[in-house]
Symmetry: C2
Subunit: 244 residues, 2 copies
DNA sequence: GAGTGGTCTAGACCACTGT
DNA sequence: CAGTGGTCTAGACCACTCT
C-alpha cells in the first residue's frame, strides 16, 4: 500500500481506525452474541496492517467497550451483575468487606419531570420520567435509600418490567431490555442530615448524618440516561474510593 | 537471539522487562533530572528487541511512573502541584468548578502514635508521628479541616520543614524533601456531624453534617506513609468522583 | 546530524477455541 | 485442522530535540 489508505488527517492511523470501529459499535452494528470481525478482516477492510488494527482494538478493549478472547474472537462487552457491583457500587462495610445488598422496592411512578430532572438528564420540556424508590438492605438492615429517575422515553414501560422482575442491579436490565449500556457515571457526594421520611425508612433518628450520593449515568453514546440520588447510613458502612 | 534471553517464566517477556525496570525505578536508580536509558539501550541490555522494551515502558508510562517525550527521552514522573491537585483533590464547588484552596496551618506536633495510627500506617509499637492540623480555605471561607499523620521515621523533622515553607500541597514536598513519591491512595468516606471544635474552625453550627474523608496514601514501594482525615463542609462544595 | 520516542508494516511463532 | 488473539522480532519512516 503505497498511498495513505485513509484521510490525510493529523491523527495517527490506528486512532482513526479505533474511532471508526467505536462508532460502528455505538451504532449497534455488532450483535452481542457474535464476535466482531477479526483483526485480519478489519485490516483488509480498512486497508491497513494487522498491527495497526491490533493497536486500535487494544485501546477499545482498555476502555472496556469490547472483550477479547484468544481463540474465540472480540466481543462487545456486556455488563454482568458482577461487573456493575464491582465497578459502580462503592459502599463497603467498615470492615472493608463489600456485600451484595438486597433490594426492597418502595414506589415506582410516572411523573412530569421537574426542572432539576430536565437539567440533569438533558430532557426536553414536558417529558415524563419514571421515578423509582428503593431500599438497599445489608444483613437485614436498611443501609441506603435510593431515588432513581429515568426518562420515560429512553426506558418506556420500566414500571411493568420492574413489577415482573425486581432485579438487584438495574444497569444489566437497562442493557437487556432497552439495549442501553451504561459505560460511565459522575458522582457528587455530600453530607446531609436525615429528615423524618429518610429516618423512617432507614430506621434511624432524625438528624443522623447521611452520605448523599448524586449519580448521573451515561450511555455509550455519552447521553445522561439515569439520575440516582442515594442516601446512605454510614454508621457501619462507608464509601470507598481508590486513587491511582 | 536463538535462546530465551531471560528466565523461562510463564510471564510474557515484555512483562518481565517491565517489572525489572519498575524495580530499578523504585530502587531510585534513575536520577529524576536525567532520562532513563533509551529503548535501544534497554533492548541491548536485556537482549530483547526494541519493540518488547517499548511495550514494557508503555505500560509503565500508562501507570504514570514515567513520562515520555519524543526527541528527549523517558523520565521518572514527578508530582507537580498541578498533578496532585487534579488527581488527589476531589472537592469542587457545587457549580462544578474546582478551585485551588489556600491553607492555614493550625498545629504541628510530634506525638506518640495511637493504636489506630499504628494500624493505618503499619508502624512498629512506640514509633513517633508528626500530627499536622490545617484548614483549607476557598474564597476566604474555611471548607476543610484536615488532620495529617505521618511517621517521624519516614518524614524526620517535618515540623521545621513546614515552619519554613507552608506549602499548599504536601505530596510534592514529600517528594522533594524526602524522596518519597505518593502513587496511590485509598479513601473511606462517611458522614458525621460537627462537634464544638470542628464547628469553631469551620465557622458553622454544631450538628452541621460534614463529609469525613479518611485517606491513606501509599508510596511507590506500596508502603502506607500518610494518614489524612479531612472534614469537609458540603454546604457549597462536594466530593466529585467519575466512574469509567 | 545523531539520537529520541511514535507510528506502521510484515512476518514469525505460540496458546487457545472451534470443527 | 484452520482461525483467533497474544507475543516477539526486525526494519522502515516520521517528528522532534539537542548540540
Amino acid at each position: 500500500m503505497a498511498n495513505p489508505p485513509l484521510l490525510p488527517s493529523s491523527q495517527p492511523l490506528f486512532s482513526q481506525i479505533k474511532h471508526m470501529i467505536v462508532d460502528r459499535i455505538k451504532a449497534g452494528e455488532f450483535n452481542i452474541a457474535e464476535p466482531l470481525p477479526s483483526e485480519t478482516e478489519f485490516a483488509r477492510y480498512y486497508n491497513v496492517s494487522q498491527g495497526t488494527v491490533r493497536k486500535a482494538i487494544a485501546e477499545i478493549a482498555a476502555e472496556k467497550l469490547v472483550v477479547r478472547f484468544r481463540g474465540k474472537g472480540t466481543f462487545v462487552a456486556s455488563h454482568t451483575e458482577e461487573r456493575e457491583h464491582s465497578h459502580f457500587f462503592h459502599i463497603v462495610g467498615n470492615d472493608r468487606v463489600k456485600k451484595l445488598p438486597g433490594t426492597k422496592l418502595l414506589t415506582c411512578a410516572r411523573r412530569n419531570a421537574t426542572k432539576e430532572m430536565e437539567k440533569r438528564l438533558n430532557l426536553k420540556k414536558g417529558e415524563d420520567v419514571t421515578v423509582v424508590e428503593r431500599l438497599r438492605i445489608v444483613d437485614d438492615l436498611p443501609i441506603i435509600l435510593e431515588t432513581i429517575i429515568v426518562s420515560q422515553k429512553t426506558f418506556p414501560d420500566l414500571r411493568s418490567v420492574l413489577n415482573e422482575t425486581v432485579p438487584n442491579e438495574l444497569y444489566p436490565l437497562y442493557e437487556a431490555e432497552y439495549q442501553t449500556r451504561i459505560v460511565r457515571a459522575e458522582e457528587c457526594i455530600s453530607a446531609v442530615v436525615a429528615g423524618a421520611r429518610k429516618a423512617k425508612y432507614l430506621n434511624i433518628d432524625i438528624g443522623t448524618p447521611l452520605l448523599q450520593i448524586d449519580r448521573v449515568a451515561f450511555s455509550i453514546e455519552d447521553i445522561p440516561v439515569e439520575w440516582r440520588r442515594s442516601h446512605c447510613n454510614t454508621a457501619n458502612h462507608h464509601y470507598q474510593n481508590t486513587l491511582n
